[in-house]
Assembly symmetry: C2
Homo-oligomer: 199 residues x 2
């Protein structure tokens, strides 16, 4: 069985990503990755790199995949900032509701483990969270919020989005997760109304 790759790279990377996502870096062994991807140890090392490299690829894959979805959700921010932020949270809520995917969030999980991760991985995790904040800030500014309010709401919304990962892991119901988001969306609605009132 050689000469041609015996597996699909995207499928294998997805399987590895989900394994890391479910169990975290420390609790995922290379044997776990082997079982999850269906690949042999030597195939993993030759095709996907060592554990640290593979984790980095999975982290970036995760950030890119859901980053695109978050961007799409926020794309209507200029005309409908409230709906955009609502759609932003819906990306997370739908991901959590998907029974095919683990609860939680690979970025949040990695951020929590920063003190024991390699510097490169820690930097990527920090960067992914920073991107999320910038995404939200840009959207809120496009929705005509003041710079200061946009900054405040962006960091708050990014934090609440991460909190959904923690709460879903702890068994919070979809209704509870929605309640968490609703308070934030209502607060944003108030802020946008107040903003508009000033003109």
């Amino acid at each position: 069985m050689a000469g041609k790759k015996q597996f699909d790279m995207d499928t294998a990377l997805d399987a590895a990503m989900i394994q890391f996502w479910r169990a975290g870096y420390a609790d995922t062994s290379v044997d776990d990755l082997s079982r999850a991807t269906g690949l042999n140890r030597s195939s993993i090392y030759s095709s996907l790199g060592d554990k640290d490299t593979l984790f980095l690829r999975c982290l970036d894959r995760y950030a890119a995949r859901y980053g695109d979805k978050y961007d799409a959700a926020l794309s209507c921010a200029a005309s409908e900032p409230l709906a955009a932020v609502r759609a932003f949270f819906d990306v997370t809520l739908e991901r959590i509701a998907d029974p095919e995917l683990p609860d939680g969030c690979l970025i949040a999980q990695s951020a929590m483990a920063i003190p024991v991760l390699s510097p490169a991985v820690a930097a990527h995790a920090r960067q992914a969270l920073g991107f999320q904040r910038l995404r939200l800030r840009a959207a809120l500014k496009a929705g005509r919020m003041t710079d200061q309010d946009a900054e405040t709401f962006a960091v708050h919304a990014a934090a609440v989005n991460q909190s959904l990962a923690v709460m879903s892991r702890a068994g919070a119901s979809p209704a509870q997760l929605l309640a968490i988001v609703d308070v934030t969306v209502d607060a944003l609605s108030q802020a946008l109304r107040a903003q508009r009132g000033r003109f």
Copy 2:
């Protein structure tokens, strides 16, 4: 050196708790615990139990210590619900600002690892998060919120409190953490004002 205990139990448990808090269950070896506490392996096993048992004790110790602080902060909720919730978040913000203590939160970290923790530990982590919600709900009800609003704000505030753990691990500044909390406190302020307006 024997016949009398050579160490202080509280000091040792605190050291173990901080080690777990900083590095998490999976990334803490018994040798790490030995170094952190200054105790030998056999002393740990004979006096503190095996790794799982010790982690459970540390989790409960953490929950009790900060649980008491959260209770104290919320004790003025009946007369000053807004100040109570503000004080609640201050407990977390001050803990994060303390350079003697790790960033993050042992409960949040454990919740994120629930899929790979022992059932007993997972149950305690879930329970600790549930307690936090009940604490907040009781305080908000005492502050004359409707049952439904109290439920919603309690789960939201508990989630935002957990988000501070994630964000602090990712290197968020004290000002950013405060901004996260401010949005929630402002939203609560609005809700309480609206509530009062109804009478």
